[in-house]
């Protein structure tokens, strides 16, 4: 590697623009920061060598330079911005409403949004945020973040650790804020130093050269916040693995006890009770709003919650063993209040009220117009019995049970084992008979197959129950996201609300040169200088950039 030796004796790495020790511009490298064309020197990273601007030969150099450019970074952000917006034109696949005619994306988009929807589907925008190209885009932003940061944090580190009070004259007089004063006494100089210390500057001196510095740590702000973002990106990579992240869903009916999926049969949940509360229509304070909502056919829920018991199967690891359940806890889960146990979190996510828990029937004479009940019986649908005997001699046998009845080519069948539309074939044995009368009965159906039945069945009552939908989560990546977010915020605040201010006092023959630099808020540093040099012979600094700008403006007007 080519080294550059400055006249002060310091050896700088290749690509250095301003000597790391004394700040003298290194002649052959002035084009890198554009210093050759301006009066002022570019103070970015104090002119330390940046890899991306130094090497540009191999393919790796080129890739590195590409990703270290802020311009490229901003372009990636802008592309991601537009790409993200695309995904909100139509609902994403997971947000296709449940009441849609078909939740199959291939059908839904075209049916609802016509030709545009069809194109949307065909381009894969219905699942845009998991598409390979969106992932690549985010990954590119991640790469840009890492390379940008490394490319700059290294020179910044070199520049900041060096910080010598004694600088070369050209470094001083090519600063943006600069002044030259004569007849400054030593006491006055000391007075300035004291005042700067009072303003909480760290003052160091070397051979009469003084450097007052403040807020150096703010320079690390951008890198700190980028580290935060990188942690978040890495955490989301981890989240895609099954080890650190579990997502499952379980429906539990009231009174039911089921194994919680995703826990390797280790945990069971029992739904003791599901509670659905609505706002009271007569509630004074919300009366008007509730009326308005009701007039539109809606209703406002106040709460839905499940009272649960969680059991642990202590024999879960023994193959073939009967589950041996131990109660872990008994608690309630409701919206905004998930339940935590043994590293899992259980959420109240949904509910259904379309299952029957029991049905009551009566037997009456077919020709009795009052349908007076001779006997009544109730079938418990969670554990249906097949036979019912009565003292009067009636006997009822449930021959067939279809929990979710439908007709398949004239054949009665059940869609599922859930009692959503129960139907039965029931044999009624009148007293002292052995031949049954056959009834087919369900909601809205009551069929006498032979037409000769002397007794008829009727549905007297039924009860429905809720099924509670619960999400189970286990997410070990959350702390990483939290950490990333915290670091990001610290970095942003650190970089945004503090500035790195430096003031150099440089003795030259009989006069004193004063120069200052800050990475932000020039107004603030000017105020500091004003305070520090008050009542001394030191001249206030002039903003050389403003002077230059004004001259340019004048030229512009004249031309």
């Amino acid at each position: 590697m080519k080294k550059l030796k400055c006249e002060c004796g310091h050896v700088n790495p290749e690509g250095t623009v301003l000597c790391e020790a004394c700040g003298k511009p290194i002649e052959e490298n002035q084009h890198i920061d554009g210093n050759d064309k301006t009066k002022l020197i570019n103070m970015r990273y104090d002119g330390s060598a940046r890899r991306s601007l130094t090497y540009n030969r191999s393919i790796i150099d080129k890739i590195w330079s590409f990703f270290s450019s802020v311009k490229v970074g901003v372009w990636l952000i802008v592309i991601a911005l537009f790409a993200s917006a695309l995904g909100t034109i139509f609902p994403q696949q997971m947000y296709i409403p449940a009441e849609a005619v078909s939740r199959d994306p291939a059908i839904y988009y075209e049916a609802h949004f016509g030709i545009l929807g069809k194109i949307y589907y065909q381009l894969g925008f219905y699942d845009l945020y998991s598409s390979w190209w969106y992932m690549i885009l985010i990954a590119l932003i991640g790469i840009s973040l890492v390379i940008c940061s490394i490319d700059r944090v290294v020179p910044l580190h070199r520049a900041l650790k060096m910080q010598k009070p004694k600088r070369h004259e050209t470094f001083i007089n090519r600063q943006r804020l600069y002044s030259e004063s004569t007849n400054v006494s030593n006491e006055e100089k000391q007075q300035v130093v004291k005042k700067l210390e009072k303003l909480r500057y760290k003052v160091r001196s070397d051979d009469g050269h003084i450097l007052a510095e403040k807020g150096r740590f703010s320079r690390w702000g951008p890198y700190v916040n980028h580290i935060g973002l990188i942690i978040i990106l890495i955490a989301s990579l981890f989240r895609m693995t099954p080890w650190l992240y579990l997502d499952d869903y379980v429906w539990v009916r009231e009174g039911q006890q089921v194994v919680i999926p995703g826990t390797d049969n280790k945990y069971y949940i029992k739904n003791k009770e599901f509670i659905l509360e609505k706002y009271d229509e007569d509630d004074e304070q919300f009366k008007d709003a509730l009326e308005l909502i009701e007039s539109r056919g809606g209703e406002v829920h106040k709460n839905y919650q499940t009272n649960v018991i969680i059991y642990k199967n202590v024999d879960a690891d023994l193959p073939g063993a009967e589950p041996k359940l131990e109660k872990v806890l008994e608690d309630k889960v409701w919206m905004n209040n998930p339940l935590k146990f043994d590293g899992y979190t259980l959420y109240q996510s949904g509910y259904q009220q379309n299952e029957f828990s029991s049905m009551s029937f009566k037997i009456h004479k077919t020709n009795d117009s009052d349908q007076e009940a001779l006997e009544t019986f109730t079938i418990d649908l969670t554990a249906p019995e097949t036979e019912y005997e009565f003292e009067s001699g009636f006997r009822v046998v449930m021959d067939k049970y279809y929990p979710e009845y439908y007709l398949d080519d004239g054949e009665p069948r059940s869609e599922s084992k859930y009692p959503k539309n129960p139907a039965f074939v029931i044999f009624v044995y009148p007293p002292q008979t052995d031949s049954p009368e056959i009834n087919f009965i369900g909601i809205g159906k009551n069929i006498d197959a032979t037409g000769e039945n002397k007794y008829k069945l009727g549905i007297v009552d039924f009860e429905t129950h809720f099924a509670s939908g619960m999400t189970l989560r286990q997410d070990y990546t959350l702390p990483f996201f939290g950490l990333g977010a915290l670091i990001f915020m610290i970095g942003v605040v650190q970089g945004m609300y503090w500035q790195h201010r430096r003031i150099w006092i440089h003795p030259k023959d009989k006069s004193i040169l004063l120069a200052a630099h800050t990475n932000k808020n020039w107004f603030g540093i000017k105020k500091d200088i004003e305070k520090a040099i008050s009542d001394t012979a030191i001249q206030m600094v002039i903003d050389q950039q403003e002077v230059e700008g004004n001259e340019k403006n004048k030229e512009g007007h004249n031309g």
């Binding site: 911005l81 304070q285 915020m489």
Partner: protein
């Protein structure tokens, strides 16, 4: 309770009145400055009135909180009103840093438009649905709103910069764009005016229209220019639609919203035409002379300062707090809901703004355009995403 709710809305009207007076006072300061080149009394009076207005609005906020039993940030009316409050608060803070009177002349009308816009939505106290019953509601919503208020000030400063700096001598792309921005503000006023007018007239026309295999009804409160597709007027004596809204408009009451949009545009155009008739030049050109004494650098600094405060606050409220709450309520901290995506887009945008400004030297005019676009994105997320793109955040 009813009394408290009434008192609360009176306080909101009081605040609106004070903001209006303060706006006029800030307008007077321009003349003030021309006569004497130092800080006059008028500015002090104007900011005092603004502060009184803010206090009145805080009283509205607190009393409504007590009356409703939850922080009044639960629906579109309450949220937009709070955004207006945030803009005023942000303005007051920035005012005491930079003492720029002209900022008030622009910031307060924006706040007023937003509050008036909010009042077009149902203002009744409404109960909270289970998903909103959490302390995170006010933690998340108030931080987001405050950040948006401050970013609103960056928009105002950017707008002032543009009106001052964009050349108005001859027509150019820039001043046409600027004119469009000003027109969109006027269209908001148009929306408010047309809604209020037909509210007073108690206008109502109900249409029946087929949707899938069902027949739905929709009540129009503005005369129907664009009616629902295959809609049939069922209110007697009301006017039928001039034409049917295009079929690709989807969502609940899409045709009605489209009709409202047409009305806002039309009223806005009439207003704009009137203003043009009075001044006989572009509105930008008409305002420009008022800004003669403004230092562009100072305005540019305000734009940046507002973003510097607003961006971290938005990250905190709009992404971090939002994620924490989403994790608690919906079992995932991020779900690509349209509102979430647009919060991310806003964040991307301001991140780009800061990189361009701090690393690539985009100051002055470029930075001002970006500040204006940024606020447009925020408004898009608030209004369009809530009302047009259905999602988990559609509460209005």
């Amino acid at each position: 309770m009813g009394n408290l709710a009434t008192f609360s809305s009176t306080m909101l009207y009081t605040a609106i009145a004070f903001y209006s007076i303060a706006t006029i006072m800030f307008g007077v300061t321009i003349k003030d400055k021309k006569k004497q080149n130092k800080k006059g009394m008028t500015g002090t009076i104007a900011i005092s009135i603004t502060i009184i207005g803010l206090i009145a609005q805080l009283v509205y906020f607190i009393t409504r909180w007590i009356a409703g039993g939850h922080a009044p940030v639960g629906n579109m009316f309450e949220f937009m009103t709070f955004l207006g409050l945030s803009i005023v608060l942000a303005f007051i803070i920035i005012y005491f840093i930079y003492r720029l009177n002209i900022l008030g002349l622009f910031a307060l009308p924006i706040a007023l438009i937003i509050i008036a816009y909010a009042s077009m939505f149902p203002t009744d106290l409404s109960p909270l649905v289970p998903s909103l019953q959490s302390p995170w509601l006010y933690i998340h919503v108030t931080t987001v709103s405050l950040s948006q208020g401050i970013l609103g000030i960056s928009f105002v400063a950017g707008l002032i910069y543009l009106i001052k700096q964009v050349d108005q001598k001859k027509r150019s792309k820039k001043n046409i764009w600027l004119e469009l921005i000003l027109f969109s503000l006027i269209a908001c006023v148009g929306f408010i005016l047309s809604t209020i007018t037909f509210n007073i007239l108690d206008y109502s026309a109900t249409f029946e229209y087929p949707s899938g295999d069902r027949t739905l009804t929709v009540e129009y409160n503005l005369p129907a220019i664009a009616g629902p597709q295959d809609g049939e007027l069922i209110t007697e004596g009301a006017n039928g639609a001039l034409f049917e809204a295009p079929g690709w408009l989807q969502g609940r009451n899409a045709a009605k919203k489209f009709n409202t949009l047409i009305w806002s545009f039309a009223t806005g155009l009439v207003l704009y035409g009137l203003i043009r008739l009075v001044f006989r030049r572009r509105i930008g050109a008409a305002i420009q002379p008022l800004l003669k004494n403004i230092k562009p650098d100072l305005v540019d600094e305000i734009t940046y300062r507002a973003v510097a405060i607003g961006f971290p606050l938005f990250t905190l409220g709009g992404l971090i707090f939002a994620s924490i709450w989403a994790q608690i309520a919906w079992d995932r901290f991020w779900g690509w809901d349209p509102k979430e995506v647009w919060a991310l887009i806003t964040w991307f945008f301001y991140a780009a703004f800061l990189h361009l400004r701090l690393s690539r030297g985009w100051h002055g005019e470029k930075s001002s355009w970006l500040a204006v676009i940024g606020f447009a994105i925020i408004m898009f997320n608030l209004i369009v995403v809530n009302l047009v793109i259905a999602g988990l955040h559609s509460y209005a």
